[in-house]
Amino acid sequence: MASTKFLVVDDSLTMRRIVINTLKSIGFHNVIEAADGKEAMAKILSEGADFLITDWNMPELNGLELSKWVRNTSNVQAMPILMVTTRGNKEDVIEAMKMRVNNYIVKPFTAQGMKEKIDQILRSVEPKAA
């Protein structure tokens, strides 16, 4: 689990640093980052990732569209997705769940809250048999 490779996507450099440092504080050190959905797509294809943590409001390609792309791309469609966003309306969460994100965090989040969500997702995802 600690070797899980996270891709953190947010157009705010400050937020990316906060999420990355939070991941490190809860034991996840294998992290790459992207500033928008388009860059994230390129990194997933070129460097690979095991777990996507994405913001919603981003230029080029937003988090919802990125999630849709992941779910429609055959070799990455099972990738866990955690949406981390300021959008806290019920309708927004419903829309995200329609894109089959695994879980949803409303900013501002706590380190403990993020750990719980990640643990829930990792528990719900069965690793492939060797």
């Binding site: 157009d11 705010s12 450099l13 400050t14 690979g48 769940m97 380190a111 069965e126």
Partner: protein
């Protein structure tokens, strides 16, 4: 002058009389209208001055918002740099202390009690570093709120410009570039807020749980292989 001419003359006199009666009735109304216009003109002039003045101030306010956003981002970056350094130093000290503790134990010597208590304090400091970083999310949220206000001001300025065209017959298009600043030109959530996080998270958790119960996310197999590179 024959009888036909007399009849024509009388008819014309009647028409003139009717016209004079009509004029007599409309003059007071016209006087009221003129009085109203005379009262309105100074008010319209005041309105025009006010609209012009507001239209001049809005771009300045936008520029000040950009400065605020820049300053908070710079301050947040500095704080993050310091906290990351602190966290790294604390981590290093903790590891050194653990190594010292192990060396003492390997020599069958008890570790100094103060050392153990210091280790606990270090964990507490590390937690505080994490909490400071978490609190800095305020910068992202306020940046979005400021961008939303800027967009609103841009919209108001557009409305005022359209209004001014009626007064000044200006035909040039409204210039939005006065509101374009790098720090404010971001994709934002107009409803972003820093407070009430736990309640909003609770609502989100309910929706996620409801989707899960309705079978939105069955257990999926995790592919441990790296995604292939498409070069």
């Amino acid at each position: 002058m024959n009888a036909e001419d007399m009849k024509l003359l009388l008819r014309k006199v009647e028409e003139l009389k009717a016209l004079l009666v009509f004029t007599e009735r409309t003059i007071p109304f016209l006087e009221d209208v003129i009085g109203f216009v005379q009262e309105i003109v100074p008010m319209v002039e005041d309105l025009k001055s006010s609209v012009e003045s507001s239209s001049e101030k809005l771009p300045k306010a936008s520029s000040q918002l950009a400065n605020v956003s820049t300053a908070t981002e710079m301050a947040t970056t500095e704080i993050l740099n310091i906290v990351e350094r602190m966290s790294s130093n604390v981590d290093r000290i903790r590891i050194e202390m653990e190594n010292d503790q192990k060396r003492l134990e390997s020599l069958h010597l008890e570790g100094v009690p103060a050392g153990r208590s210091a280790a606990v304090n270090l964990v507490s400091i590390q937690d505080d570093c994490t909490n400071i970083m978490i609190a800095l999310q305020v910068q992202d949220i306020t940046a979005q709120q400021i961008a939303a206000v800027n967009k609103l001001m841009q919209s108001v300025d557009g409305g005022l410009s359209r209004l001014l065209r009626h007064f000044t017959k200006v035909t040039t298009e409204h210039d939005d570039s006065k509101f374009r600043h790098r720090r404010l030109d971001i994709v934002f959530d107009a409803s972003a807020e820093y407070s009430g996080g736990s309640e909003r998270q609770r609502v989100a958790d309910e929706v996620v749980e409801s989707a899960r119960r309705s079978g939105g996310h069955s257990k999926t197999k995790r592919n441990k292989k790296k995604s292939p590179s498409r070069k």
